[in-house]
Amino acid sequence: MPSTASATFEKWNRKLHYYLGLYFLFFLWLFLLTGLLLNHGGWRIAQAASHRTETGYERAMAPPRGKTDLARARDAVRQLDLQGEIEWPAVPPPRGHFVFSVARPKDASQVDIDLATKMATVQHWENGGLTVFRIFHTFSGSRYNAPGQRDWALTTIWVVAMDALAAGLILMVLGGYYMWYRLERTHTLGFLALAAGFASCAMFFASVWR
């Protein structure tokens, strides 16, 4: 690489390292702190982060309309004035019933519509402040081991933010390697730190992998 191009790369790599770090700082803290809550379910604060209040109600409604189950669920969600990601039950509902859940970090509802009586039975869970905070860590609207895709635009926006944070961290790590490599005085100790990190990671995987 010519020296001017190399200098430009070096300058922008350094800038990118702290610009990304500053932009994603609050996103990173959210995931780090909620990660602690998720890893330590026994902590009092983690138990408080599982708090939610349950209510239930019934409401008359027009039969949900639409060509697909998702369209019908969206129509029902609109009529019931709910919002969030639509999820389907693991077991098929009884005949004549249309059942789904709608969830977002703030609250979740399970909706069971009796198509014959045109009555919706809704179980509603309102999450506490810490619970909302914790749910953001896992709120992706899609599970790798379950069918279904995310169907709420705001979930997609949140997933893009999570992906951007992950990509940003990878770029910061790779850019950090380059910056360290260019600092010749830190090579020995830096190499030892990096080797210790990779060795811990590799030894852990080698011992648990099957």
């Binding site: 702290y18 500053l22 890893n39 790798y144 990190g197």
Partner: protein, 208 residues
């Protein structure tokens, strides 16, 4: 401590601790893409094996929670498997004792016929990315009173915590290091504000 030595210590710790924890950060970051976008057919086991004449520990039909873990482990070891037991369930109607076992690279379920002393073990090998995704979610919030019943997950909990604490330190020290660069303060403040506004806008929009 003088300002210069504080700066040097912060800079060096930021660098060396960052280098040490970087492989774990890469694992967590790469697994985000898997967890957000992958779809895996988990209902197709790669092997189904029957084990017969198993020793059935006493209390298998009554033990629950942490008390049921040693019982499940006694069965698990007879099948030659190691890994974290997700939960245990005794089905009174059929007198079957059921529990899942998982570890990076393997996901299995054990269905033990208590009276027949026979266990059906269905297992599925997983790929590297799924293993990263599995570790990303471990130990996790569910069944906290039995989590860490396998040494691998107990060790991983330390690594996961270390990743969190060191990354917190690296982010705070990074702010300090940025703030010492006078020429970058203005744009840095703009980016910090833009990040905060983006995050709080999404949180507001999702919850309003």
């Amino acid at each position: 401590m003088t300002e210069t030595s504080l700066y040097r210590w912060t800079r060096d710790l930021h660098l060396y601790l960052g280098l040490f924890i970087s492989p774990f950060l890469l694992v967590f970051s790469a697994s985000v893409f898997f967890l957000n976008h992958a779809k895996v057919a988990t209902d197709r086991p790669t092997s189904v094996v029957t084990f017969q004449n198993l020793f059935i520990p006493a209390g298998i039909d009554t033990a629950q929670g942490p008390a049921a873990i040693p019982i499940a482990q006694a069965i698990q070891y007879q099948t030659g498997m190691t890994g974290e037991i997700g939960f245990t369930r005794f089905v009174k109607a059929t007198r079957h004792f059921v529990f899942p076992v998982s570890r990076p690279g393997l996901e299995a379920s054990v269905d033990l016929d208590v009276d027949g002393r026979t266990a059906l073990v269905s297992s599925r090998k997983t790929g590297m990315l799924e293993a990263f995704g599995y570790l990303h979610k471990m130990p996790g919030p569910h069944n906290a009173n039995i989590r860490g019943n396998w040494v691998g997950i107990r060790a991983w909990k330390w690594f996961a915590d270390a990743t969190i604490y060191l990354t917190l330190f690296i982010s705070v020290s990074g702010i300090y290091l940025w703030y010492t660069l006078r020429a970058e303060r203005a744009i840095g403040k703009v980016l910090l504000t833009a990040g905060a506004v983006s995050l709080f806008w999404i949180i507001y929009a999702v919850n309003r």
